[in-house]
């Protein structure tokens, strides 16, 4: 069970949160100009590192706000971003 620090509510247990996958994936700026390959990459391909990962979490059973978290995918050590 991980202890995750919500930027607004402080440290809470993992089951209060919802996972959102890789952080910083922006919607394409010019969607009409994207090739099939680029759409495929945007829709389906995300980083899957062993180690440091920047990801989205939502404090769904608390303040219900989304935030970014830096987490190690081997040790589960977490830290804030920036």
């Amino acid at each position: 069970m991980m202890l995750i620090t919500c930027p607004w509510c402080g440290p809470r247990i993992e089951i209060e949160f919802h996972y959102g996958g890789e952080a910083g994936v922006a919607y394409p700026e010019n969607p009409a100009e994207l090739s099939h390959e680029e759409w495929g990459r945007y829709l389906f391909v995300r980083a899957n590192p062993k180690g440091e990962f920047f990801e989205r979490w939502c404090h769904s059973a608390g303040c219900r706000r989304w935030f970014d978290l830096r987490r190690d995918t081997v040790t589960h050590e977490t830290g804030s971003i920036g």
Binding site: E14, H36, G40, V45, R46, N48, P49, K50, E55, T73
Partner: protein, 407 residues
Amino acid sequence: MLNTLAEPSRPDRLWRSVEPRRRYQVVIVGGGGHGLATAYYLARNHGITDVALLERGWLAGGNMARNTTIIRSNYLWEASAGIYEHSLKLWEGLEETLGYPILFSQRGVLNLAHSPQEVRDSMRRVQANRLAGVDAQWLEPADVAEVCPIVNVSPQVRYPVLGATFQPRAGIAKHDYVAWGFARAASDLGVDIVENCEVTGFDVRAGRVTGVRTTRGDIAAETVALSAAGHTSVLADMVGLRLPLQSHPLQALVSELLQPVHPTVVMSNAVHVYVSQAHKGELVMGAGIDAYNSYSQRGAIHIIERQLAAAVELFPVFARAHVLRTWAGIVDVSPDASPIVGLTGIDGLLVNCGWGTGGFKATPGVGWCYAHTIANGEPHPLNAPFTLDRFTSGALIDEHGAAAVAH
């Protein structure tokens, strides 16, 4: 006194332990069930024996040692029925093929439906299975109790059993024996099995993969075939290949040894539990995946708690059983819950990945097809639909319903 006692004689090794040579025709990365089956069929079906199977730890010590050994082929789409049913047919003759006992037991699998929508989806899957030549039946709750008397089919529970699909030819096997059987047979045919040999990089020349760098030296190869399950992304990153995979822990557990109480395999997607009783007597249970990406090979206790709450409601007789141990394997989940087996767009490099929570059942089938792909440089008809390209073309093989987490 002790010195006068002779040491007990060691049993013969099942496969040769070798120092890797510097060059092979084919290098397979990953010494799990899929890699072993691939090596075996490369040698047996295609006569290619200049093969090294590289394993970073010990043979079959990853997901092959951690799965719940369920074997079935009742998926929804024709493409899936093709490869999973081919695999099931190979399982049916595998003891004879390998000349090694694997305790393959066709005790049937029940996939429970707990809601009217699940009932409709399950009936649809039964019909699709029959059209694809896969044995499948729809059972009403009373028939479910007939097949597996310890399932609670009372309408009073939180998730009542409204019926189930039943595949009588499904079953379980002894995972270690499967690995050892393939390893012995592949080794006898000339394949080099190299343990404690981690791939740390690739040699790429003019856009072509020409070999691997390992903790036991560089090894050149005409073809490098990845078969590394949850660690596939780590390897692919080394050559700049981005794959649509996310790695998650998948947990399982066993009880202490019990008298035979559970005659079949029961799976429930809705409550995320699947359970059978191993030959030795343990109840073997799988849970859902942990939601976040992780390579830690351990999961959170609340997943186990939820799984056991569901299990005890479905099987009241389990309430007095004790958990002996829990563990997790790292599974590589693809966006459509179907595998990726074939070419990568990089010459000399092939992938077999994305089996997510359900790779064990496919072991002989994917070994057969992946070996064909390696030998011919193009996919076997049964793995041709499972391309990497489908995430560009949109020809997805959506098996979330038949796989869910409970593959």
